[in-house]
Amino acid sequence: MEITTLDLKDFYYYEQWQSLVEKEGLVIENLDDITETLGIYEDDELIATGSYFENVLKYLAIEPDYQGGAVFNKLVSTLINELATQNIFHVFVFTKPQYKQSFEYLGFQIVAETSVSSLLETGDYSIDQYIAGLPKVAGKNISAIVMNANPFTLGHRYLVEQAAKASDYVYLFVVNQDASLFTTEERMDLIKQGTSDLENVKVVSGGQYMVSFVTFPSYFIKSRADIATYQTQLDAQVFKRVAKVLHITKRFVGSEPYSPTTEIYNQSLAKVLPPEVSLEVLDRQAVDQDIISATKVRSAIQNNDLTDVEKYVPETTFKFIKTNLPTLLRRIHDGN
């Protein structure tokens, strides 16, 4: 057996890889979500392959004759060691329920599962540690909002205000993935500044557990609707696990007139969260019948139109955008 890196840009390797991966019933979506691919050869035949993107293992496939043991262990082990050389020790895998046990056998632990998919993790960090690190509050009505806020708008502000009015405490989970025009740190700061007057709102990081490349890659990488559906249902299960420990009984979301992916997400939440957590969908706010959205703010920035930006965002966000306009324009230009 020989392990090597497969260069998928080379058609020779791509063809072998594609045939093995598709034989195992995996849907190849987009090569952009692969950092590196390993292959195991027996003589000249590709008998196993596995890839990763950041700290997520993907596209694991093994020839039927070699399944159930040594080859699988070698494949997963080599991927984990490869990530360790890049100082990545906390590793996730998103797989079908029938393979759950094989991963558990290698020390992986379940983060969440649905009838069609399982999310497992291993290494030096876990969801239990993430939850243990969150501030704990006491109250009857504890609610939550998860937001990317790219950037924080008056629409976000309205959602947080409504939740704060209706609850003893509100956990505001900020999506922790640097895949947006505004960096995680900037988004977090603008949310904190824009909600600093609301004393019962706790702004916390969503870690890798709330809408991240791990739980919900379609949010960042365009995907088919069925794939978005099973990812969002899994993301909702992860949320439920966190909610249980924090005694969160309600989640607020904004209605979604524009993005089909976010609309699928809201539908999945409505299906998965009850009865433990109820879902409250609030209508999106508008200024002069023009619905506020972060997308509109970003296009206004792109058009260098500060007057338009000012319509949609609180003063704190506006100040930031005004000061950092050249940086933001450069990021848009560079394709971020």
Binding site: N73, S77, N81, F89, L106, G123, D124
Partner: protein, 97 residues
């Protein structure tokens, strides 16, 4: 000795053991082994003794065992310790002897 950062050694293949050492408070051992019932305590003893030899008092040890012998457990743990303490180039001869 202090754990400076997370480090990994070993594999998940048969007869091997994979260690992940990370910063912690006190010595915490999280062992996953199919022979836990028969050899769990023995494996833990090998780990705690070796950590004591190195004077490591604060560490999280994650061990996924695939039926490793004591000598393998020691070898993998030594590699993980030296990586986690940035002492790969300074072997601890007293422990290794």
């Amino acid at each position: 000795m202090e754990i400076k950062h997370t480090a990994l050694a070993g594999t998940l293949e048969s007869s091997d053991i994979q260690f992940t050492l990370s910063k912690g408070t006190g010595v915490e051992i999280n062992l996953d082994s199919q022979v836990e019932k028969q050899f769990g305590n023995q494996i833990r003893k090998v780990i705690t003794d070796l950590l004591a030899d190195y004077g490591i008092e604060n560490v999280n040890v994650r061990a996924v065992d695939k039926g490793a012998l004591d000598c393998t457990i020691k070898a993998r743990l030594i590699a993980a310790i030296q990586r986690a303490t940035d002492t790969q180039n300074q072997p601890n001869w007293e422990v290794l002897g």
